[in-house]
Chain length 241, copies 2
DNA sequence: TGCAGTCTGTGCGCCAGCGAGCATAGTAGT
DNA sequence: ACTACTATGCTCGCTGGCGCACAGACTGCA
């Protein structure tokens, strides 16, 4: 099956004014991201910023002892490469492809130039950054107070919100790495959700059957993040201002 | 004892170009912040942004059931009111005074105007924001993987880094609220640190005796955050560029 | 000086999640 | 169809942190 790719599948690109979009368009390069690919290593400079369309990229921090924890997730609603325009160039976290798919990319310097026009594009990127901040903050809260099962619900919801379908290609082992918990913990929680008929999974595939049920079973963190993304990044469709 | 107050005690104000500083100066208002004061409620719009000098403000998220968790901490190195210039105006978190003291403040609209000049001040604020993002990310990691004792070390270090002395006016109960753990957990961890001679405390007062010892006993999170603040916000002293 | 209020210390029992080890069941490749 | 591999399921015992309850100690105020 061939899925047509169009930069407008990325919500940020889609929200640009036509004049800004047209200027960027010739420089957008479509690429494919493989599951597990490290798009950006901790502390290293990005040559490009990425606008995912059908892929998801996780920002995670890997500790000295090898343990890891997800900080935030970026999909077709956002951009990977915040430090490029925030001025720091690098971050201590690593960007890993969590779900294979396509993404557009743009030379970092070009984005910097666009950002420095201090126009609608800058305002859009800053609002997106604030939404991302909320996601990180809520991750911190969730890590502190909520059960593995609740966190799994939140994580599944955030993921399918950023994908076209309702299915994830993802092993429990990888999910455990993202959440920073034991694989067995994920197995147990996923088993419970499956028994409840909320999800269905088989070896590396998870499909969400009952979104609403998952939301009910999740902690408030998902809703807080979702509400904030919707508030900060309504569907502009080329009318960013 | 009268401590002279000067906007330059706030590192961001201190880092401004003279011309920018002089324009802001007449609009800076010195205020006192009381321990426990809520500077900004979750979801409400800030009328001012704050540049703490001798106070510390915590950003924390309070859950529906009343439990809370600290997201980040702002002191004389930063500014409270990021959403003002990021464009979202509000956030889901609450800002609470963690350590009483002074702060300058500035009408939100004035800061917005300055930010929109797209000059050195804008770049400075964005770099600060990135540092804050790192702090939040590391809080998430720390919440996931580290013990109460390690987190207490990190928290103490972040706090005294933002204060002139080495003493904190702070009950264990409040610390527990910030960290989102039980008060008894803090009592136990603090007792251990005192036994090791790293800190000394009595009813509402904690003094750090051995900074280096605390750093050794802390998890890597403190160092990651500190390094990132130093990298992104070197001591500019009026030479922001 | 004494009392009220608040902070700190301690001792329970309890449970989620950890670590390690191993058994089974899918899946991909030849 | 067979094999090698990897993903998932299940079982131990262990421990860090939780919730609760209460005792002692300090401080501020009358």
């Amino acid at each position: 099956m061939v899925i047509l790719q169009d930069p407008h599948q990325n919500h940020l690109l889609d929200a640009l004014l036509k004049v800004d979009y047209d200027r960027l368009f010739p420089n957008l390069e479509l690429i494919e991201l493989q599951l597990g690919e490290v798009v950006c290593e901790s502390g290293s400079k990005l040559k490009h910023v990425y606008f995912p369309t059908t892929s998801i990229v996780s920002l995670l921090y890997v500790m000295e002892d090898g343990a890891s924890a997800e900080i935030a997730v970026v999909g077709n609603e956002g951009i990977l490469g915040i430090p490029v325009f925030m001025g720091g160039e690098t971050t201590p976290s690593r960007a890993v492809v969590q779900s294979a798919g396509h993404s557009y990319r743009l030379r970092a310097q070009l984005l910097k130039n666009e950002f420095n026009r201090a126009g609608p594009l800058q305002r859009l990127l800053l609002r997106y950054t604030q939404a991302l901040i909320t996601q990180m903050a809520q991750t911190a809260v969730c890590n502190r107070h909520h059960s593995v099962e609740q966190q799994l619900c939140r994580w599944l919801l955030l993921s399918i919100d950023r994908l076209p379908g309702h299915e994830l290609i993802m092993t429990q082992e990888l999910i455990a790495n993202m959440l920073g918990v034991r694989r067995e913990g994920v197995t147990e929680a996923a088993g419970k959700l499956q028994a409840l008929g909320l999800i269905n999974y088989r070896r590396g595939h998870i499909s969400v059957l009952d979104r609403t049920g998952l939301e009910k079973r999740s902690c408030e963190c998902y809703q807080v993040v979702k509400t904030e993304y919707d508030r900060l990044l309504p569907a502009f469709h080329g009318i960013a201002h």
